[in-house]
Subunit: 474 residues, 2 copies
């Protein structure tokens, strides 16, 4: 196979699709991208409405691969930890890591996507078409059918291979489901909660109205509000709340009075920052929170699902974009190994990658409960205190589950999950049994070393016992 002669069709020019187009363009393929939306670089997105995302080390690995590290850094606002807001409007900062150089970033989806589109389009061998909605894919013949939103014309495009990066509602995935030409395992799972975006506008002088370098959380047990900073001084705020359960829920927050009462009671300091609350609340949609898993991702060497189309996850670990970017890095590595046979590349990539995207999907749901509830609990805070101390004093010997997932891009999500969960179990059980405690001198390194050794030994015990038992349940 002569790479330069291969025509690759990408469905979707979102974050994953535009990064993939850029990378495959850099590798010399003829790349054509079809995006259903209008070109976001030509649309005015009003201030404060832009959605921001968490960007961290796994995503940055991909950005380094395509040589855009410096340009992307300019779009980033570092967030060093969670700023927890309690009901009495007290706040405290809980760092993401005991290592100072480990933090996550808030980044604008639109800004990052525009950069990737610019860079991809700058290559001679990459073409991007907008306003082309994929209706279905004839995966037996590597042909996709598009409808043009402006002209209403339909067209059929055949390529050597098609990669669908068209998100959670993927047209290719739908074709896999409806055509029933092979055994396609598929799941869509919704949380009982939905979400609604709100906004803290900048102060009149353009400043941030609350602390800039943190991910703000108002944990309330069964629901929560979070806020991430934007470059223009605003924060994008998200309310996560049950549709049906609890005293206040999306189904009964139907009048300005009830919405204001709810925020007054539960989030008084956030309400103060959002005079625009009621307007935003009734203007913006309520959206569901779903997880999609499926298998296989490829059909022969003809088609492949990548990014959210293969594994849509809930947003609570801040890993959605990072996971999709990591897909491109992993795919690139399998291209190095198997270039010349699409079926081999697609199969090897999928088989290696799926365990990790399954893991981050499960971790993201864990983190939903952690953020809305556990961060406010004493035993959780004790665990975090110990972990922060271990990471600070023994930076090369300990990483919490959060650090393994977020800052250790050379460990797969699955390994991070297994080790991270075992550590959590070890620490929580030892705290509960009194084997370790926060009632120690955290400045005494010798004392901390004893804690470290206990945590590592108990974690390894747990992992070993699970390994022996694993033979019985796969």
């Amino acid at each position: 196979m002569e790479v330069k002669n291969q025509n690759i069709q990408i469905i979707g020019a979102g974050l994953c699709g535009s990064l993939l187009a850029l990378r495959l363009g850099q590798r010399g393929y003829n790349v054509t991208v079809f995006e259903m939306r209008t070109d976001l670089r030509k649309t005015d997105i009003s201030a404060g409405r832009s959605i921001n995302l968490a960007f961290s080390d796994r995503g940055n690995k991909a950005i380094k691969m395509v040589g855009l590290e410096d340009k992307v850094e300019k779009l980033c606002i570092p967030m060093n930890g969670r700023m927890i807001h309690d009901r009495e409007s007290n706040t405290f900062l809980s760092n993401y890591s005991g290592r100072e150089y480990e933090y996550i970033n808030s980044i604008s989806r639109g800004g990052l996507n525009a950069l990737l589109l610019d860079e991809a389009e700058a290559l001679d061998n990459v073409t991007i078409h907008f306003n082309k909605k994929c209706k279905s894919v004839d995966f037996e013949n590597s042909t996709a059918i598009y409808k043009d939103y402006l002209t209403k014309d339909e067209s059929k495009i055949t390529s050597d291979s098609i990669i669908a990066t068209d998100g959670a509602g993927s047209a290719l995935r739908k074709s896999y489901v409806t055509e029933r030409k092979f055994l396609f395992s598929y799941s869509q799972e919704y949380l009982t909660h939905g979400y609604k975006e709100l906004c803290i506008l900048p102060a009149e002088n353009g400043d941030y109205k609350t602390y800039k370098n943190a991910l703000h959380i108002w944990p309330r047990g069964d629901f929560m509000v979070i806020a991430l900073p934007n470059l223009d001084g605003s924060f994008t705020v998200t309310l996560f709340l049950s549709y049906e359960e609890g005293e206040y829920n999306f189904n009964n927050l139907t009048t300005p009075e009830i919405v204001t009462e709810f925020f007054q009671k539960e989030f008084p300091d956030a309400l103060e920052l959002m005079p625009n609350l009621v307007e935003d609340f009734f203007e913006n949609p309520t959206a569901p929170l779903g997880t999609v898993k499926c298998s296989p991702w490829n059909y022969k060497g003809n088609t492949l699902l990548m990014g959210d189309s293969a594994h849509a996850i809930v947003p609570f670990y801040g890993q959605g974009m990072n996971a999709s970017f990591e897909d491109v890095v992993e795919f690139d590595a399998f291209l190095d190994k198997n270039e010349g046979n699409w079926e081999d590349v697609f199969k090897a990539y999928s088989q290696s990658r799926k365990k990790d995207t399954d893991a981050i999907a499960d971790l993201a749901i864990d983190n939903f409960h952690e953020m809305k509830s556990h961060v406010g609990q004493a035993i959780f805070q004790e665990k975090r205190k110990i972990e922060m101390a271990l990471e600070k004093e023994f930076p090369n010997n300990y990483s919490s589950k959060y650090s393994l997932v977020t800052f250790n891009e050379n460990i797969g999500y699955r390994e991070a999950m297994l080790r991270g969960r075992a550590q959590d179990k070890a620490i929580l059980n030892m705290l509960s049994d009194g084997d370790i405690s926060t009632n120690i001198d955290f400045k005494d390194k010798a004392v901390l070393k004893i804690v470290l050794d206990k945590v590592i030994a108990e974690t390894n015990n747990i992992l070993e016992d699970d390994m022996v038992a694993k033979t019985m349940h796969h």
Copy 2:
């Protein structure tokens, strides 16, 4: 609500639907059942072709509820254990329980279904229509659309409430998915293996060609053959094999020579009992093995999924029919509590039941690996040896996972899974660490008591540690 005035529509007159019709009829409802197949009581099912099923205590609890215990017992062939066949044609019997009165039964699907149809139809307030295929359900209006296979006519039937017991391919579930009127979580997961039914015919004198009172297994690690006895002296045999992987698989078993070679090499004693092997192999279809989970099962008080339509599972725990029958028992209990409000009944039933059907789905997949592989492994056999001795000597103090699932109808599947898995983990780890061993005098009750105490203590430790950690991952 006057029960007698309520019209209940049941989609599907299989095992679950006919049992449900009988029970609701006994309770006084006006019940109308629509079945897509022809009346199985009027069709000739040839000997040896009938599919048999494992019938055990959970199923029997339902049969007792409708007063048919004695009639059903006559259809049963007790199977006391697994008869394991190795590659050298050696056999050994591994009992299902150390308690002699605990065994499972092989029962004919057709015979049992016919009995339930007869009993239901004998009630004045139950009507069953055959050859009526449900096309879709308008769940907003409690209306189902049927096509008559004979007349080709379509009809719309509206009832006070509709319960779909129409199996893994449920029309109601499809309507839930396609109508998108509410957030419907849904998964279909296929194993990499498929199955094909074969047959050991009776001997010329009508006798069973191999031991009658066992479930025969030929475990081969990555694949297996099983056989269950029928009342006519035959056995229904099933080959479970990968579609694609391994030296022999369904995709490459394409000629009589290769099929014979495969059985000669892997199952020589089974081949001897099946001179009809090649004919059966190429006549019978290869079918996939899938698990379906979904939620919610009900739409308001209008419609409800029950049995396989709500939770199709793989057959390896012999619990498919038992779980569906248990659905009817549980549903009946919630009718006792909430009769008069279908929505309350449907919701309370679903919320209570789903954790248990999710558990048996996962257990059934565990047992796939146990049957095809672990039953042939030394450490597994040591575990079973210890468990048999504990069940025999301490019948009131110990039940293995298999016993909890199969013979303890008053414990839910989820509790059976959690305790059963913890026990397996405890025993395997203690065997592996040398804390317990099979190198003891199994006739010395005092020695066994020490083992029992160790197993219970370690199991409780595991359950307790999991409970503390559970707060962190739901």
